[in-house]
Symmetry: C2
Subunit: 195 residues, 2 copies
DNA sequence: GTCTATAGGCTGATAGAC
DNA sequence: GTCTATCAGCCTATAGAC
């Protein structure tokens, strides 16, 4: 087949990515072998090395693709909004992403704190992008209520951390409450509790 | 040597645990080999298998030990306190643990979301213990301000998540602000921002 | 572009001396 | 209890046919 071969509607590259992401979510990247990926993708191992120069490079490319899509989603969620409304939209976008791509969420959480891998830079850049989006909105929200932040970077990390664990707990419980409602409820509850 | 042999003040078992934890923090458990652990601990590989039946069992024992110590610390931090004061004490205890044992923090974060390992139950039990400590205090705090929680489990997960990412960001920036001050500041800032 | 076959290195685990 | 020596299996990566 010519470049961009298709298998059941997917290019070979896409099939490889899908298999690699699913397996990495199940057992972690290190424990995922090239044989596993080839088998799940329905291609031969040789095709993996035709499309990617190594296992590390495969996962670096996969993470870069997924992270750039995620960044775009967060950016568009915040578009046209500011302050508290923007924060709520960002949190809701995080929840939506976790719900729609739980495999990606799991891989990111387990890889985002590692610093010895070849894709550290890819992940670090994305992490900072997420946090800075939250930080801008947090500073706006604080200014809006006349309460300037002393430690904006740490506060926005806190908001991001809430969003992550709230998402995990929510998914664990079957994601019953609708996203918008959940964000509204929990934001109010957290403010009351932290006072 | 008789049972409980010592190497530089540590029993062999302790030396093995210390080496295993440090290596797992650097590269993850899967990527840490028994040869690495033996070399860093200054013992022969045979001694690893004399003290533990397998690599999985070694890490299960390590995590169980560390998690039970962590649980005890959180429980004693909350002792005699309720509501907001208890929440602040819990968050501060989390920050202290992350500061004093960054290796453990990193390993826990990366392993806590995996569900295919032999130590899942060990980690899951600890996770639920942490969250329920937060949940009790959150419900008290909410009741104290006449704002009953609609989703206590999710809200307490949110508080725990804040504590985790706040701790990471704080450590990343050199842990300059003293813990107590940081918790007080950030709790107020978060409440203002989330409104 | 995709396949099969195979090389070469590393890893978990065991056996047996001391 | 701790050591050294060694094995059997698995994993990344390459070579070459089609």
């Amino acid at each position: 087949m010519s470049n961009g071969a298709r298998r059941g509607g997917k290019t070979t590259r896409e099939a490889i990515f899908a298999a690699a992401l699913a397996l990495a979510a199940e057992r972690g990247i290190t424990a995922t072998t090239m044989d596993d990926i080839a088998a799940r993708a329905g291609v031969a191992k040789g095709s993996l090395y035709y499309n990617f120069s190594s296992k590390d490079q495969l996962f670096d490319a996969l993470l870069e693709l997924e992270l750039s899509e995620l960044s775009a989603r967060l950016a568009s969620a915040r578009e046209g909004l500011r302050g508290r409304a923007a924060i709520r939209a960002l949190v809701e976008a995080v929840l939506q992403a976790m719900q729609e791509e739980p495999d990606l969420a799991r891989v990111l959480v387990t890889e985002i704190f590692r610093d010895d891998r070849s894709w550290v830079r890819t992940v670090a850049v994305a992490r900072e992008g997420f946090l800075s989006a939250f930080q801008v909105s947090c500073e706006e929200a604080a200014a809006d209520v006349g309460h300037p932040l002393r430690n904006a970077a740490i506060v926005s990390a806190g908001v991001f951390g809430s969003a992550l664990l709230i998402g995990l707990e929510w998914l664990l419980r079957g994601a019953q409450t609708p996203r918008g409602e959940l964000v509204e409820q929990v934001a109010g509850d957290l403010a009351a509790v932290l006072g």
